[in-house]
Amino acid sequence: MTNIISIAIGAILINNFIFSQFLGCCPFLGCSSKVDTATGMGLAVVFVMGLASAICWVVDTYLLIPLGLEFLETLAFILVIAALVQFVEMFLKKSVPSLYSALGIYLPLITTNCAVLGVVLLNVQNHYNFIESVVYGITGGVGFMLAIVLFASVRERIAFADYPECFEGFPICLVSAGLLALAFMGFSGMQIFG
């Protein structure tokens, strides 16, 4: 149990996917101009990362390892993720249209979100079991959501700020993301359960 809690807190705060591992920066910078869209993107990522961790763990343990095909992990995982995103999209469209319209265009974008493929590969690298993988996937997504929502609120303020002309657009966002990363560094000294 302590193990799971430490994985969860580690993924959300200490080793936050964006601010300390740089996974998922493209959607982080691309979809964070408004708090609403950021929340939508964050929810979609939590959902897909949890599901992808579970399914890829099963694929890896019961299909790739017994067949000795570990070298195809990257290829298999990206296919699983792409197919999963398609299925989730179709399923939501049919049965939960309200959620579908909320997540909308963000779902297909998630296929190329490196946080999703990253979490799956890290699960394999860290030799997590099924429960640990799922927890790591979901909490990694929660960490992503926390970061993107915080950052979107910062960006809404930046819109009214006065900065040099050449910093317009991405550079000023990157600088403020850097400052947020600095704040998250405060967690890095945290020790969980000794």
Binding site: F19, S20, Q21, F22, L23, G24, C25, C26, L29, F71, L72, E73, T74, L75, I78, L79, A82, T111, T112, N113, C114, V116, L117, G118, L121, L122, Q125, P164, E165, C166, F167, E168, G169, F170, P171, I172, C173, L174, V175, A177, G178, L179, A181, L182, M185
Partner: protein, 233 residues
């Protein structure tokens, strides 16, 4: 296809990182030593070139609806090949880049170029596009590595250059680099994630400044030419 124009586009006016703003995750994550930067840049260059050629070679038989899935499979195949080659021949690089080598699969640069360029152009043009875009990416990585390493630990070329026994390049990542000032005086914050964000932000800002300047200059020239023409009339 104009190779010179493609060269300029890849390196400056349409640079993947600083102008197209794609493929930033790895750019910020691994630019801590020159060894990592050069290794990552060359890996992307090779994969990008191979994928561009492959996609453009089969561009006429790819059904439009499932083209993205096909691109992803092609890319994942090449990434796996490079990943395994690195593990076999340059294990130090594979270790220090870690999860970011397999993550080249979802690097937007490669799928972006497949979608925007090589599915519409000939094999030759796509080959040069891959080389030049890859070079543009490598240059950005090198600039960032040099800057971060310099300020962060006062070193140049960590992992890649060894000067303890005469100048030589080390491909196993053991070289200590050239120490320009004592590492204790370095701002080690540049080696942390913060440094990645700030350095890339500053780099893009500088690029934007100069690109805007040259665009303004061109505009002014065009306006002046138009004026001169009017007067001549």
């Amino acid at each position: 296809m104009n190779i010179k124009k493609q060269f300029k586009e890849g390196l400056i006016t349409n640079n993947p990182v600083t102008v197209q703003l794609i493929g930033m995750c790895a750019t910020m994550a691994i630019t801590t030593t020159l060894f990592n930067g050069v290794g990552m840049g060359l890996s992307v260059l090779i994969i990008l070139t191979c994928c561009n050629v492959a996609v453009s070679a089969i561009r006429k038989i790819i059904p439009n609806d499932i083209r993205l899935a096909i691109f992803v499979v092609i890319i994942a195949g090449f990434v796996t090949i490079v990943d395994l080659l690195l593990q076999a021949f340059i294990p130090a690089l594979s270790e220090s880049l870690g999860v970011f080598i397999p993550l080249i699969v979802v690097n937007c640069i490669i799928i972006g170029r497949a979608e925007a360029f090589s599915q519409k152009n000939t094999v030759g043009a796509s080959f040069f596009d891959g080389v030049f875009q890859g070079l543009g990416y490598t240059c950005v990585l090198i600039v960032m590595c040099v800057f971060r390493e310099q300020i962060g630990s006062g070193r140049f070329g960590g992992g890649l250059i060894d000067v303890s026994n005469g100048f030589r390049f080390t491909l196993d990542g053991t070289g200590a680099g050239i120490q320009l000032f004592n590492a204790d005086y370095g701002a080690s914050i540049m080696n942390l994630p913060f440094g990645g964000f700030i350095t890339l932000g500053l780099l893009i800002a500088v690029m934007q400044h100069f690109l805007k300047k040259s665009a303004k200059k061109k505009e002014a020239e065009a306006a002046a030419a138009a004026e001169a023409e009017k007067e001549a009339d």
